[in-house]
């Protein structure tokens, strides 16, 4: 029978996501809310409702009631009516709804009202009806379902208005809450169908969660600032609409949301505090309240036999004990090799919420262990969750021996042995020797020789340092033969005194240490010494710029002299032309005009060149002007020279005839 029970334990335990921490800041949150001075009816609503969810009351009830009454007298908009109704009903100072409020709530035009306002109106009206402060037939609000049905988008979410492109989880939650209020009214077939559509859509929308570091939340449009509002609205609406909320349990949705919000209590935002308190309240009051499995201590030292008791706290979200609960250690698995260390053990009850188990009875070695913890409330199925613990130990090194060997023939020339608390005597060695290190690491818990992750020998000099790992041997000891040539490479072959240290470290030991073994003098050949590396952080020499030496220039007199000299050939040219007797003959008639124009265009071309040289035009402008002047020059030149040619040929003919 026992074996059958144990087999059942291992089979029927469902994998579950229990939150790992409780909500312990309830009192501080209550105090903050009581001290807060709200400035409008919305803030009063958040304060009053949050305190109500946390089973407390505000300190200044009368001022809140007065503000709520005043708001209801004004009845300016549906949101403030909703806030005022809930404040007055919660504080017990509500009266029958006045005409203004009744008119606003009961004469809605749903198709012209946003989903959010429809929720405010419906929730306020039904709250008043519930408290008998307003009477109406529920079917008056049934047409809202048809309007909401038109606002369902492709993914199943509900839009705020029909014009919007897509719906949001926040408005979907509000729509579901409206639908839940209208569920028991007289509905038409279409309206009942709308309810069924909403219920079916919930399963798909539940998958639209966003994973956070701690758990999950529901977020619209990637705006994490409204995460609490969206999550609370959606989960509340889904819970109120669905008859069967097992899907939340199966998918561990509530547990993962609880994990996130417990670790991220929104103390700084009043609206989020309200939504947070509403979520906590929902999780506590649902038919299957969330169970918190927490381990106050997750690290255990194997050297302290008395510290092997794993304490498991099983409470509700507020840290209160849960009655009639049994806790089991379904399985404890080593992370290193997946070996099962324990299975199917019932934990001992220490108090009404603390259960314990001695993990060290099986003498586990150091490392991480996954604990599959099962919780059974009453006769329900066992629900499982996983927690991780770490087992550490202490180690010690009894002694370290260092032998100095001749590298050639391996003859031992010096031998040193050092025990904890002592150092070996200063010795010298040189380039042609080797150091043989040998020591063992013992686990203080099991008294066995063990292996650690870091076993290093370090030589620290004035300017250089070298570390060398020591090899773990088959006989579970540490041994390494270090040639001083190899040591010297890291030390840049700088001769001198070096402090020798042994470094022992491991993530699973709680006494990692550095043991100063002593001092050794290394002598290296001077020619091997590495020049001191340039310190890249040292100040460098200032860079002095060498500017180009200007070219030699002549004196002004010489330059001007030669400028005049260059003009001398021009003067001789002019004189010579006059001496020869040049005759400038233009053709007659149109040829004369063409000649003048030709000369003018030539002048224009060289004027353009001069303008370029003086910097008035750039090359593109110059070419642009040439494109205009050039063809003109060609044209007039052609005409002028043609006229000249005709004149010349006519004279030639005349001479020929004569």
């Amino acid at each position: 029978q026992i074996y059958f029970f144990i087999v059942c334990l291992s089979i029927v335990g469902l994998s579950y996501g229990f939150p790992s921490s409780t909500f312990t800041q309830g009192n501080s949150l209550r105090n903050i809310l009581k001290e807060y001075q709200p400035i409008n009816i919305e803030e009063v609503f958040y304060v009053v409702q949050a305190l109500d969810n946390l089973s407390s009351e505000p300190s200044s009830k009368s001022s809140h009631c007065d503000l709520a009454t005043q708001t209801l007298n004004e009845a300016s908009d549906l949101a403030s009516i909703y806030h005022a109704v809930y404040v007055s009903e919660t504080l017990g100072c509500a009266k029958n709804a006045n005409q203004k409020v009744a008119g606003k709530l009961l004469n809605l035009k749903p198709e012209l009202t946003s989903t959010e306002d429809l929720f405010y109106a419906t929730a306020a009206a039904f709250k008043l009806k519930d408290k008998k402060h307003l009477s109406f037939t529920s079917s008056q609000f049934s047409p809202i379902l048809s309007v909401l049905s038109d606002r369902v988008s492709v993914d199943g979410s509900v839009k705020d208005t029909a014009d919007e492109r897509s719906g949001t989880l926040y408005h979907s939650g509000l729509a579901f809450q409206i639908a839940a209020l209208l569920k028991s009214s007289d509905l038409t077939q279409d309206q009942k169908f709308t309810l069924e559509i909403f219920e079916e859509n919930i399963e798909g929308l539940l998958e639209l969660y966003t994973e956070t570091e701690e758990g999950l939340m529901y977020i619209d449009n990637s705006d994490s600032r409204t995460a609490f509002r969206t999550t609370e609205s959606f989960i509340t609406g889904s819970f109120e609409l669905l008859d069967d909320t097992d899907i939340f349990t199966e998918e561990s949705i509530l547990e993962n949301v609880a994990e996130h919000i417990l670790l991220n209590c929104p103390f700084s935002n009043l609206r989020d505090v309200y939504h947070f308190s509403k979520l906590i309240n929902l999780m506590i009051k649902e038919k299957e309240p969330s169970i918190v499995v927490s381990l106050p201590n997750t690290t255990f030292s194997a050297t302290d036999k008395s510290s092997g008791n794993i304490a498991v706290l099983v409470t509700d979200l507020l840290g209160n004990p849960i009655s009639n609960v049994k806790v089991f250690l379904m399985k404890a698995t080593s992370f290193a090799d997946d070996s099962v260390v324990y299975s199917n053990q019932q934990l001992n009850s220490v108090s009404n919420k603390e259960f314990s188990f001695n993990f060290f009875t099986g003498k586990p070695s150091q490392g991480y262990y996954f604990l599959d913890i099962g919780v059974q409330v009453g006769g329900d199925t066992i629900k499982q969750t996983t927690r991780t613990i770490k087992v550490v130990t202490s180690v010690s090194v009894a002694s370290v021996s260092i032998d100095v060997l001749d590298s050639a023939d391996k003859e031992v020339t010096q031998s040193h042995n050092v025990v904890p608390g002592k150092k070996f005597g200063h010795f010298k060695t040189s380039y042609f020797y080797s150091l043989n290190l040998h020591f063992s690491v013992k686990d203080d818990a099991s008294k066995q020789l063990t292996r650690v992750q870091q076993a290093t020998i370090r030589f620290s000099g004035r300017t250089t340092e070298g570390s060398f790992a020591i090899e773990f041997q088959e006989d579970s000891s540490y041994k390494s033969l270090l040639d001083v040539k190899e040591i010297g490479r890291d030390l840049w072959y700088i001769s001198g005194d070096y402090d020798v240290s042994l470094i022992i470290g491991d993530p699973f030991i709680d006494n990692s240490f550095v043991w100063e073994l002593g001092t050794v003098t290394f002598n290296f050949p001077p020619y091997l010494k590495v020049a001191e590396q340039e310190n890249v952080y040292a100040t460098r020499n200032e860079i002095e710029h060498t500017f180009r030496v200007p070219d030699k220039r002549p004196s002004e007199t010489v330059s001007l002299g030669f400028s005049a000299g260059v003009l001398v050939p021009s003067v001789f040219l002019l004189i010579s032309l006059l001496t020869i007797g040049i005759s400038i003959k233009f053709p007659s008639g149109l040829g004369f005009i063409y000649s003048l124009l030709f000369l003018a265009t030539i002048g224009g071309v060289f004027f353009t060149y001069s303008g370029f040289w003086f910097g008035h035009f750039n090359m593109f402008e110059t070419l642009g002007k040439l494109l205009f002047v050039g063809p003109l020059s060609f044209l007039f030149g052609y005409l002028a020279l043609k006229a000249k040619s005709n004149t010349r040929l006519a004279e030639h003919e005349k001479v020929k005839q004569e």
Binding site: I580, F606, Y609, M619
Partner: protein
């Protein structure tokens, strides 16, 4: 030999220089005018070169521009002289040769002005 050389070159109506000048006066006036321009561009270039040799090349681009302007002008004038010389049988007319000369000067001096700096 030197005396004989000087006598042959400088003395009398049959001296080389006298013959040269008398024959030179017989060539068309146009060609003589072009020869004056050739001499002008030649000596302008020589003076610039002497200046550079004396004081250095700075600014080098300006020197190149001025010197090449003289050389290019010399070459274009020489080409015009060849084309206008009745003794050479070119098929182009005088006007055509002159028009080519003007066009080449346009293009050439665009580069000169650009390079002058």
């Amino acid at each position: 030999f030197f005396l004989f050389f000087c006598q042959a070159v400088f003395m009398g109506e049959q001296g080389t220089i006298s013959v040269f000048f008398s024959e030179y006066n017989n060539i068309p006036k146009k060609l003589r005018i072009i020869d004056l321009f050739l001499l002008w561009s030649f000596f302008t270039g020589v003076i610039q070169f002497v200046y550079v040799c004396l004081v250095g090349t700075f600014p080098f681009n300006s020197f190149l521009s001025g010197f090449i302007s003289c050389v290019g002008t010399f070459v274009l004038f020489a080409s015009l002289r060849l084309q206008l010389n009745p003794g050479n049988s070119f098929r182009v007319s005088e006007e055509r040769a002159f028009a080519d000369f003007i066009f080449c000067n346009f293009v050439f001096h665009l580069a000169v002005f650009n390079f002058m700096g």
